[in-house]
Every structure is written in C-alpha cells, then in structure tokens.
C-alpha cells in the first residue's frame, strides 16, 4: 500500500492531530490543570480552522474510494467554522460542576463525529460513506445523554439511538438493493449504470437511501425524533445536532444524490424530492407556530430550514451546490446565534419557554438584539444574510426554468411569510410584550459572548460581502465531475 495516499486527506489528518492532542491532555494532564481542557480544545481547533485554509489538496486516494476537491474542501471548512463556534460556546458549561468530570469525553466525541462527517463528504464509495455516517451518528447518542441526572436527556438519547440505528438499517437495505442492481458500490460505477435503469427496484432503493440520509437532515416524514431529542439534549449538543450534523448531511445528500443518482433525477426522484421538500417546509412551519418551548420551536424551525436547503439539490448544478453551501454557512451563523442566546438564558435562569422571554429587552438588551438578528436572518429579511441565502437558493432552483420548479419556489416563498409570523413572535415577546421580565439582568460568560459576536458579524456580513458567494461558486465549479451526468 502506498502510504503517501494519506497526504490527500490533510484535513482529516489535521483533525486527528487535534483529537489526539485533546485526548492526551485529557488522559495525562495533572488534575488541577484539567479545567484548561475546553479552552485548549478551542484554541487547537481554532488553529486548525485557520490552517485549514491552506490545506486544499485535490486528488483521489484508496483506489478512488476517497476524493478531495475544492468543493469538499469548502464544505469541510464551513463545518469547521460551526464546530468552532459550538466549542467556544460550551467552554463554561463544560467546566460546570456537573459536567467537569466528563468534559474530556464531550470534546473527544464531538471531534470524532466531525471526522465522520468529513468521511461522508469525501467518500466516493458507499462502504466508506456508511462508516462516515455511523461515526457521525453514534457518538452523538452519547452526547445527547450527557446530562447524567436529567431524565429527559436519557429519554432523548434512547430515542435518538433507536431511530438512528433503524435509519441505518433502512439505508443499508437500500444500499444492498443498489449493489444487487449494479454490482458495485463505487459512486462512479453506479452513476454510469443508473442512466439505463429505472426499474421499480431502483425506486425502492432510492427511497431507502433518501430515508437514511433524510433522517439526519430531519426531513419530513423522517423527522419525528427531532423535537423530542432537541428538547431533551443539553443545549450545546442540540445546537450541534441542528446545525453541524444537519449541514454535513445536506452536503452528503447533495454529493450522493447528484453524483451517483443524478442521471435518474428527472425520471425517478424528482417528484420524490418535490414532495419531501414541500412537506418538510410546510409541516415544519405549521408545527413551529404553536411551540412555546424555545428549543422545540427551534427544532421545528430547523426542520423547515432543512427543506429550504434541499432546494439547492433541485438546481442540481454548480449554482445549486454553491447556493447550498452558502445557505448552510448562513444557517450556521443564524441558528447558532439563536441557540447561543437560548443557551445563555437557560444556563442562567433555567428558563426555556418563549413566554419567559417577555420583556427581555429591558433586562438584557444585547441578548435580545442578537436573538432578533438571528430571527430576522432565519426569516430571510434583507439585508441580513438569511435573505441572500434564500434568494440564491431560490434562483438556483429556478435556473432550469421548469414550471414545476416555479410552483415549488412559490410554495417555499409563501412559507417564508408563514415563518415570518412565528419568528416575529419571538421578537415581539422580547421587545414589546408589556410584562416585567422574569429573567434578571445577567452577564453571559466570555465564551458565550465571543461565540455570539462571531455569529452576529456572520449574520450581518456574509450577505453583504459578496466575494464569499463568488468564492463558493468558484469552488463549486472547480474540477468537479459531479454534474456531468445530470440533465
């Protein structure tokens, strides 16, 4: 075996180095300096995220099972930004009394799931893809259960575990159908054969594959676990699940569906995707309207956001990919800002109901301001980044100019109005409800503040600084053979 192949995976190796350093520190550092672990992780990962910028390496390894392109590089870098924010956010929390003894595990498991996501994105063979998928899913179950003494946390973990395992089973079944049909698990092999095959078997296989990844993306009807798990899990884990895990799944979905099954798009899974997108956006929205628990509320809102992300797949070209990446980037900032505020408040006062946010502006103006920006961005109000991401993804879906796409985008647009209503409910509670706020004035921890400031800058600047999008478009066009088979 040619060991130099490993050089084609610089980001994975870098991540492993960070992981090993954290692990070694956790194991061997003296007890009194243990509390420096979260900061150390943040610093190491920060350095890694910055260095990442120089790690672009194109090529394939392991007989074509693994491929790095500019697009995969950018996807991983986007995930890194989100992971870094989550790590910074949770510094104080992981040093709290109840958590202190297990903080090492928290960060190690977190980094391992990132490794799994990297594999999902770069895999060009379904075996490697499944390994990535499992590595990205199973440690999360442990993370969801991290509140050792809280019953909800355990229940959520159990639910997550069972649904994850079940969805893996369904996914693997779909894969076995695929193998039966095409006799290979290489993406490229399958892609060439898909064109001449539209048997019912392929439909079933595709439905199962979509269900498998749809679980991670919490697409309707594979979303039922979401609200319970989001509510039960510790908030940093929830934000990780809703943003990073979902973003990675979206990237993987785009790669797998377009690159492998692209040729069958118009024949087989176009309508499947339409139905799923419409259901996801609409149901997510309608459920979100009546939620009073902030975490459940964000859970349903993130379900409908996943539907918007899927619009990028409809475009199925470089523009679609770029819009999808941009959407995930903006979504990372907006949703992490929202979760950051919810987390800071939960830490301080234990309040999780939107009703408790009444009049928050009077006691905590900056938190309210951050939350308002996050809500505006999620609702897609210009000039915040959320508007641009929605605009790009809608335009990319319209690019091919089919009437069915127009109708789809129109439904999505109507849904943005519905979503505006419930996002404004939160803003209204904070700024204009008359009650005296039950949450006293407090100062959030340093880490939380840094994370929120990063998010606020992200929300305001990502949309306006246009070179980010241009950069993503270039990355999407760079050397990908991914779109050759579609259309």
């Amino acid at each position: 075996m040619d060991y130099s192949q490993f050089l084609y995976m610089p980001q994975e190796l870098g991540l492993l180095v960070v992981f090993l350093l954290v692990f070694l520190f956790d194991t061997f550092a003296p007890k009194r300096s243990q509390s420096a672990l979260p900061v150390l992780t943040a610093v190491l990962f920060g350095i890694f995220t910055v260095c990442n910028y120089f790690m672009l390496m194109r090529g394939t390894a392991f007989e074509g099972m693994f491929e790095n392109t500019a697009a995969t590089f950018v996807m991983k870098s986007i995930l890194n930004v989100g992971v870094l924010i989550v790590i910074i956010q949770s510094i104080k929390w992981s040093n709290s009394e109840a958590m202190a003894i297990r903080r090492g595990e928290f960060y190690e498991l977190l980094l391992l799931t990132v490794f799994g996501m990297y594999l999902m994105i770069s895999a060009r063979h379904f075996l490697l893809f499944v390994i990535g998928l499992e590595t990205a899913s199973l440690p999360l179950a442990a993370l969801v259960a991290f509140h050792k003494k809280r019953y909800e946390s355990h229940e959520a973990a159990a639910k997550y575990m069972f649904t994850a395992v079940f969805s893996s089973a369904v996914f693997l079944m779909g894969l076995s159908f695929v193998y039966g049909l095409f006799g290979s698990l290489y993406f490229s092999d399958i892609a060439y054969q898909v064109m001449n095959n539209t048997s019912a078997m392929l439909v079933v296989a595709l439905a199962f594959v979509i269900a498998g990844i749809g679980f991670k993306l919490s697409l309707v009807p594979f979303h039922l676990w979401t609200a319970d798990v989001y509510q039960g899990a510790p908030t940093p884990v929830t934000s990780y699940l809703s943003v990073i895990s979902k973003g990675a799944a979206a990237f993987a979905f785009m790669v797998v569906m377009v690159q492998v099954f692209g040729a069958a798009y118009s024949k087989v899974w176009e309508w499947m995707l339409y139905a799923i997108i419409i259901l996801t956006i609409t149901l997510g929205n309608l459920f979100a309207i009546r939620q009073r628990n902030i975490k459940r509320f964000l859970a349903f809102s993130s379900i409908s956001q996943a539907g918007y992300i899927m619009l990028g797949v409809i475009g199925g070209n470089e523009l679609g990919l770029a819009s999808l990446m941009f959407y995930v980037l903006v979504y990372i900032f907006s949703n992490l800002a929202a979760f950051g505020v919810a987390f800071a408040i939960e830490q301080q006062s234990g309040k999780v109901s939107i009703d408790d946010y009444n009049g928050l502006y009077k006691t905590n103006p900056w938190l309210s301001f951050t939350m308002m920006l996050a809500m505006f961005s999620l609702a897609g109000i210009p000039p915040f980044a959320g508007f641009f991401s929605k605009f790009f993804i809608f335009t990319s879906a319209l690019e091919c100019g089919e009437m069915s796409n127009y109708i789809l985008v129109l439904i999505a647009l109507i849904n943005t109005i519905i979503s505006l209503y419930y996002y404004l409910l939160v803003v209204k509670a904070m700024f204009i409800s008359p009650d005296d706020c039950s949450i006293a004035r407090f100062r959030s921890s340093c880490g939380e503040r840094v994370a929120m400031i990063v998010c606020v800058f992200g929300i305001i600047l990502t949309g306006i600084v246009s070179c980010i999008y241009t950069f993503l478009v270039e990355a999407a066009q760079d050397g990908t053979t991914m779109f050759g088979l579609l259309n």
Binding site: E155, A158, T163, M272, L413, I417
Partner: protein, 641 residues
C-alpha cells in the same frame, strides 16, 4: 463624474444611524437630537445641490436633443450571480430620482426639526433619532437605486425601519400590534414583488433599470409568447411587481395596515405614512413605466385598483372621528389618484401627461400632507387626544396652526392658487383624455376630498367650544411651528413650478397648459364640497347626526371601513389559525404525543423496570419512518406508471 458626491446623502444618514444607535444613550437627549437634525440638514443641502445640478447643470451629456439623460453616477459591481446576471450597487440620477431627493430630504429635515419639540421628554429620544436616520437612509437608497435588486433590498429596509418607528411606543399594545400588522401585510405584498423580480430577471437577464426601460419592447418580447393561466408571463411579472408597490402604497385590499400605523408618533406618520414611504409604490411603477406602457393589461389592472381605492378611501374618510385616521384615509385616496394617473398615462395621450401629473401630485401632496400631519401633531400635542370630539374652536388658541391647516386643506381640495390645484388638475386632464368614465370618477372623488377635509377643518377649529378646563390649548413651540410655516409656504407656491420642464415620461420638456374646462369643473366641485362641509359643520348642529341616522347602514359600514379589517381577521384567525394551525398542533400534542403516552403507559404497566427505555414513542417514530419511506417509494412507482 461630477455628481458622484450624491452618494454622500446615503453615507451621512447611515453613519448617523450607527453613531446614534451605538453611543446615543451616552449623549444627552438634546445633543443627540441636534446632532441628528444637523446631519439631516447637511444631507438636505447636498441633496438639493445634486438635484439642482442635475436639472440646471450645463455639463456635456446631461441633456441630449432635449432629452434629459439618466446618469449613473456611481456603479459598483457587487455580485456576479451568473455571467449575465450581475447585481450592482449604484446611484442613479434621473428626473424622478432627483425630484424624490428633494421631497425626501425636505420632509425628513422638517420632521427632524419638528420632533425636537414634539418628542421632547419621550423615553428613547436618541433611539428615535437613530431610527429616523435609518429610515432616511433606506428611503434615499430606494429612490437612487440603479437596479431592481438594490431597490428591493432598500425596500425591505424601509419596511424594517417603518416597523421600528411605528412600534416606537412599545409599551402600548396598539402600537405593537399595528407595527406587526404593517410589517406582515407589506411583507406579504413583497412576496409578489420578489416573485415578479425573479420572473422579470429570468427572462430579461438583467436587473438594471436603464437596460430594462431603454428598450421596453425588447424586454417584453424576451419572454416570447410564454403564457401562464391565460396571461403572458410579463403581465404576471409586472402585476406581481405592482403588488409589492400596492402593499407599500396601501392600495385596496392591502391598505389595512396604514390606518393602524397611525399609532406611531405623529411626525413619523408625516414622514413615512404621508410623504415618503407610502409613495414608494407610485415611484416603483413610475420607474418601470416604459415597460408598463407596453403592457396594456398590467396598466389596466393598475388603473382599476387605483380608481377603486380612491373612491373607497374617500368614502371611509368622510365618517372617521379620529383626525389621524381621516388623514390616513385621505392619504390612501390621494396616492390612489397618483396610481390611477399612471394607469391612464400612455405616450399617445398628450405626451404621457398622466405620468407627469402623477409625479407632480406626488411632489405637492408630499408637501401639503406632511403639513397637515404636522399640524395634526401640534393639535394632538395641545389637546392630548386624537378624537375630534375633544376639539373645537381651536382657531382662537392656535392661530399659526389654524392658518397652516387651512392652507393644507385648500391645497388638497384643489383651490387655486394652492399647490394641489395644479397637480390634481393635470391628473383630471389625463383621466378625461383616457376615458370620460375615469374623469368623472376622479372628479367625484375630488369633491369628496374637499368635503371630508373641510369637515375635519371645521370640526377642529370651529364647531363648538368644549370646556378645556385648566388645560387651555396653546400654540406649539418654535421648533414645531417653523416646519408648519415653511411647509405652508411651499404648499402655496409649489403649484407654480413648471413641472413639465423637469419630469416627463420621455424626459423631454413638456409645456403644461391649463385646460380651463377641466379646471373650472374641478374648482366648482371643490367649492360645492367645501360649501356642503361649511353648512354641516361650521357651527354645532344636529344635521350631521340626522344624516347619519337617515343613512345608518351606509354610515356604519363606512365608519367600520367597510369591514375590511374584520374580513382579514376572519381569514387569518378563523380559517388559517383555527382550521389549519390548531388542528396540526392538536395532532402533534394529542395524537402523536398521546399515542406515545398511551403506548408508554401500556408498556409501563407491563414492565416497570424497562419502562423508560421501552417507552412506546420510539416504536411509533420508527413505524412512521418506515411507513414514510415505503410511501415515498410506492407513490413514486405509481407516478412512474
């Protein structure tokens, strides 16, 4: 380019917004207010300089063959979406944007000065000035936009700042719900706008106003013969774009937010809901007018919507008792005049006089309506109430305000030589030229305008003398009366501006001729309206009440604004919330959670030890999951067959 300093009118307000927003609380109220006002003063000077240089400048290339050129004085590429579709940010100067520069900066400056007195002592005074700067910035950005995308962004920013300003008294529930209503209704309309933009840019491959309007025939024909539901795609695009304009300009049936928006501070109503933001829809149609002029269907829709709204709002205004609401409905009605005027304009009729008339009326209306609102503010300030019943006989206590209000009323009623007469007359000329039906229609509305404005005037300043007790109303401070005097003077002389020399549909000079048949009729109608109001409302009497009793049904319907709000309420609350959201939430809570609970309970009694792990919910989840996956497959197979 010489005029590139125009960009300063955007930079100064946005800088003031950031400055007052960030360090405003550290400054004293007075300093913050004066700083904001001074900055606005500088902005106004620059805006005037730019507009005058544009209109009277002699530089090469400004006027070619008698046609004023559209000058792009700043042009930055912001984003290359695809090779053809490039989004730019820039500053476009042409007759209408230069005119809007004057309107916005004048009214905004006056409102800044006025607010020094009006908002004195309010909590959040600094915040108020920050929001005013933000609004001015967005509004100027909107009118100076070089492309429809830039316009859309500023359009939404205007919406956001209007939301913030209406909800300024955030402790009042009414203000809060009004701001939310305004935001959601206009956002809903903007949905149409956005879809329209997407369709338009998809077919024409450009966002740019100049390339869209320089060859409208080509732009229209790019869509080929593509049709959708019986209309051409371009008609759809233009109608949808107009929907956005109708939302901002409060055209029926999207007008419901404007009367409620009066909950905001009165100077804000004067600035946003009388002079600037609400005419954005008119401006949008005027901006794209060359394209609309080619598409007859879209233009007809605009005419009908405008004409209907004009009558509807005038009818409602005749019976309202809250003075700001009367003014709000009068604004709706007057804007509908402008919209109708654009609708009936076509290049063949008198060189597109409708277009010129619409812009002219926009200009004069901004001045006298801002004047009326600021007077209303002074009156409310003096008697601490919005209701007409709390007023009466105020002419003795507030002479300056009285005269200014009278000037405003005469101007809006269309009595020469006040400004409204000249512009309204041109609109009527255009309407009669198109079809006598629209002419007569608008003449009737003009008569109603004179009637309800003078009803308002007499009820406030004459009628009876209520007992004011200790709080004898008195004239407002100098900061508040100065804007009244200034705007009053403008309302007297603005009509004599030879507007046709500056703003016309083909940007060539057009000489205005007063058509004395039309002018005579409209003066006669206005006088009749005023006389009727004089008879009914000059002195306290029970004639109005008798009439109201005689026509009880009509009067009640008009008083309740023909139940439009109730209709919306019914649709959103009874149908959307109750019939759709609630059942789904119920489904979530009862059926899904309930099933889980049931299963959990069954398992619970069966096995105590493992009850948590075996809680039925996961089984149900998995069951749904599998059913979902299979359903997706089965449905697809059925579709394929």
């Amino acid at each position: 380019m010489e005029l590139s300093y125009t960009v300063a009118v955007l930079i100064i307000p946005v800088f003031m917004f950031l400055f007052l927003g960030i360090v405003g609380v550290k400054l004293s109220k007075k300093t913050a207010g004066i700083l904001g006002t001074l900055a606005m003063g500088v902005t106004t000077v620059i805006a005037y300089a730019a507009a005058f240089t544009y209109f009277f400048g002699t530089e090469q290339g400004q006027v070619i063959d008698g046609v004023r050129q559209q000058l792009t004085v700043l042009d930055l590429t912001w984003l290359e979406f695809t090779k053809n579709l490039v989004i730019k940010i820039g500053v476009l100067l042409d007759p209408i944007s230069a005119m809007m520069l004057i309107v916005i900066s004048t009214v905004s400056f006056m409102v800044h000065i006025y607010s020094l007195g009006y908002m004195d002592g309010e909590r959040g005074f600094q915040r108020y000035y920050a929001f005013l700067s933000l609004f001015t910035f967005s509004m100027l950005g909107l009118v100076l936009a070089t492309n429809i995308f830039q316009m859309y962004i500023f359009w939404e920013l205007v919406g956001v700042s209007s939301y913030l300003l209406i909800g300024f008294y955030y402790t009042l529930p009414a203000a809060v719900s009004a701001s939310k209503k305004a935001f959601i209704v206009t956002r809903f309309a903007d949905l149409g706008f956005l879809v329209g933009i997407l369709i338009l840019s998809f077919y024409t491959d450009t966002f740019d106003f100049i390339s869209l309007t320089s060859d409208p025939q080509a732009a229209i024909s790019t869509a080929g013969g593509a049709t959708f539901l019986g209309c051409s795609v371009m008609t759809w695009a233009l109608t949808l774009i107009f929907m956005g304009g109708a939302g901002k300009s409060a055209m029926f049936p999207l007008h419901i937010w404007l009367p409620d928006a009066m909950e905001g501070p009165t100077p804000v109503s004067a600035l946003i809901h009388a002079a600037t933001m609400v005419v954005a829809g008119v401006y949008l149609v005027a901006r794209l007018f060359p394209i609309y002029a080619v598409d007859v269907t879209a233009l007809e829709i605009i005419t009908v919507v405008g004409a209907f709204t004009a009558l509807y709002a005038a009818a409602v205004a005749c019976v309202q008792s809250d003075i700001k609401r009367v003014l709000a409905f009068s604004t709706i009605s007057q804007i509908a005049f402008m919209i109708t005027s654009l609708g009936v304009a076509s290049p063949e009729l008198h060189h597109g006089v409708g277009y010129m008339a619409s812009m002219f009326h926009l200009f004069t209306h901004a001045m006298f309506k801002a004047l009326l609102f600021l007077c209303a503010g002074a009156i409310i300030h003096a008697v601490h109430s919005n209701e007409m019943s709390a007023m009466g006989g105020l002419r003795k206590y507030m002479p300056i305000c009285h005269i200014a209000f009278l000037i405003g009323c005469l101007a809006i009623a269309g009595i020469p030589p006040f400004a409204g007469f000249f512009s309204k007359d041109e609109i009527l000329v255009a309407a009669y030229a198109k079809s006598p039906i629209w002419g007569v229609w608008l003449s009737v509305v003009a008569g109603m305008t004179a009637f309800y404005m003078f009803r308002l005037y007499y009820k406030i300043f004459w009628w009876n003398n209520p007992d004011y007790g200790h709080h004898t109303p008195h004239e407002a401070p100098m900061t508040m009366t100065f804007p009244l005097i200034f705007l009053g003077l403008v309302s007297i002389v603005a009509g004599f501006i030879p507007f046709g020399e500056f703003v016309t549909s083909n940007r060539e000079v057009y000489e205005i001729h007063l058509d004395w048949t039309v002018a005579g009729t409209s003066i006669a109608i206005a006088v009749v309206g005023i006389a009727l109001a004089t008879v009914m409302y000059r002195k306290e009497n029970n004639l109005p009440e008798q009439l109201a009793n005689r026509f009880r049904g009509l009067w009640t319907a008009a008083y309740h604004r023909f139940y439009m709000d109730e209709l919306y309420q019914f649709i959103t609350h009874k149908i959307i919330f109750a019939r759709i959201s609630k059942p789904i939430a119920w489904f979530d809570r009862r059926i899904i959670d309930g099933t889980m609970d049931l299963l959990a309970n069954v398992t619970n009694s069966a096995s105590f030890a493992v009850r948590r792990m075996q809680s039925g919910s996961v089984q149900t989840y998995v069951w749904f999951y599998l059913v979902g996956a299979v359903a997706v497959a089965v449905i697809t197979i059925i579709c394929l067959i």
